[in-house]
């Protein structure tokens, strides 16, 4: 669709942050990486596709923010000291922060497709995609949806044991 071509067209590099394991520091690393790249003068965005346990909004202290719509789709929430890092997470779509997202695969897949095609990212040097643990719906859908774009590669996070 035209929107798809428009919304990610200005993104130069897309990085996935993966692990098989939970609790190893994917979200922490995604956040630190985004902040470090921003510090180095790059235009950065974070896409949080952990739908059941979205950690990024809280890490960037925007857990109470809401998203708005514009002509080309959703406007990301701008975070960081200079409000220049673009962030999208399901965390912003919940009515209450403790609400559980109890969705089966197909519904998760539909939202991930929307996050990829319907967020007005604008021009970015790096889009960092934070993922939940595992090798399932979120991962398959994210890779499939991003395939037509500049997918730079994946960073895998682990702990020593």
């Amino acid at each position: 669709t035209l929107a798809e071509r428009t919304n990610l067209a200005g993104v130069r590099h897309i990085l996935l942050v993966l692990s098989g394991k939970g609790g190893v520091g994917k979200s922490t690393l995604s956040t630190e990486l985004a902040l470090a790249l921003r510090n180095a003068g790059k235009r950065v965005g974070i896409l949080d596709v952990d739908l059941c346990g979205p950690s990024i909004p809280r890490m960037l202290r925007v857990q109470d923010s809401a998203v708005h719509q514009c002509d080309s789709g959703w406007v990301p929430v701008f975070v960081g000291q200079d409000k220049a890092i673009a962030l999208m997470s399901i965390g912003f779509l919940l009515e209450r922060p403790d609400d559980a997202v109890v969705w089966r695969g197909p519904k998760k897949n539909a939202l991930i497709k929307q996050f990829v095609s319907d967020v007005a990212w604008g021009d970015l040097d790096f889009l960092i995609v934070d993922t939940p643990p595992g090798t399932s719906d979120e991962h398959i859908s994210t890779v499939e949806a991003l395939r037509p774009y500049q997918l730079l590669g994946a960073i895998l996070v682990t702990t020593p044991q």
Binding site: C52, G53, P97, A100, P132, S136, Q161
Partner: protein
């Protein structure tokens, strides 16, 4: 007809405990393994440990059963036995190599979980412990749905003290309430660290928002206990598949685990007595 099949298979299961978290890496599998060992220490009890983490099955390694395969018989799939009274099932036993990725979408995962319940010949079981992956998705919905054929005593929810974990655990508590799954209580893992040399206590994961204690108070759930971080747990249990309770009986972590296991047993036995009264 399917529900009847499941009901028949699970009829001889007395107590079922789900081990959940919203958060990954907090110690669900470690706890499930030790709970199973702890309950099986009583040789008169038959314990079953079911691992429904399809993408990241940790139980085979933690129980020292890597490389084991599942055998079929006329009565179904045979669990892999650690002890005579402790049987285990996991997708890990179905892989040709431990590094094989199970890259499945929800429906396929649900299918395997149903098979685990329908086709495994668990026999007579006093305690069925179900270890789950992090989250509130297919695996969790399915296990609650399929186990409605029997009776789930409740869920034990594992967390670590920091807010980034509690945030996800509150969602898990919401999930339990939504699907009417009783919550036995919360375990706060990796609570503190005692240096083996200087015996000084540090908080590796500071409870910046009051830890599990505050969360439990706010949400009116039981705090079953706090388990300190003991590097022996990782070394012995997680990576070597030994029972930490047996290998390190003097560790403060072992004492915490034993207290928590006892509380879980008491909860299950109480429920049983109450139901017998009603019947």
């Amino acid at each position: 007809a399917e529900a009847a099949e499941l009901r028949a298979r699970l009829r001889a299961v007395r107590h079922t405990v789900l081990v959940l978290s919203g958060k990954g890496g907090v110690g669900k599998s470690t706890f499930s393994a030790l709970l199973a060992h702890g309950l099986a220490a009583d040789e008169t009890k038959q314990v079953a440990l079911l691992d429904i983490d399809i993408c990241g099955p940790s139980i085979p390694k933690m129980m020292g059963l890597e490389g084991e395969q599942v055998h079929q018989s006329g009565s179904g799939w045979s669990p892999v036995y650690v002890e005579e009274n402790l049987g285990v099932m996991s997708v890990g036993f179905l892989l040709s190599s431990p590094d094989d990725a199970v890259i499945w979408r929800g429906p396929k995962k649900n299918g395997l979980i149903k098979q685990f319940l329908r086709d495994v010949d668990w026999g007579e079981v006093d305690y069925l412990i179900v270890d789950t992956p992090p989250g509130t998705s297919d695996e969790h919905l399915s296990i609650v749905q399929y186990l409605s054929a029997t009776h789930i005593d409740g869920a034990v929810i594992v967390t670590t003290p920091q807010e980034v974990s509690l945030q996800d655990v509150r969602k898990e508590i919401s999930f339990c309430r939504k699907v009417k799954l009783p919550i036995i209580g919360v375990v706060e893992n990796m609570s503190s660290f005692v240096c083996p040399k200087c015996k000084n206590e540090s908080q590796i994961f500071p409870p910046t928002t009051g830890g599990a204690e505050k969360m439990c108070q706010n949400l009116n759930v039981s705090l079953l206990g706090k388990v300190p971080l003991d590097p022996q747990i990782g070394r012995k249990s997680c990576d070597r598949g030994q029972s930490f309770l047996a290998e390190a009986p003097e560790s403060p972590a072992t004492l915490s685990y034993r207290n928590i296991i006892q509380r879980i047993q008491e909860y299950c036995e109480q429920q049983h007595l109450q139901e017998e009264k009603i019947m």
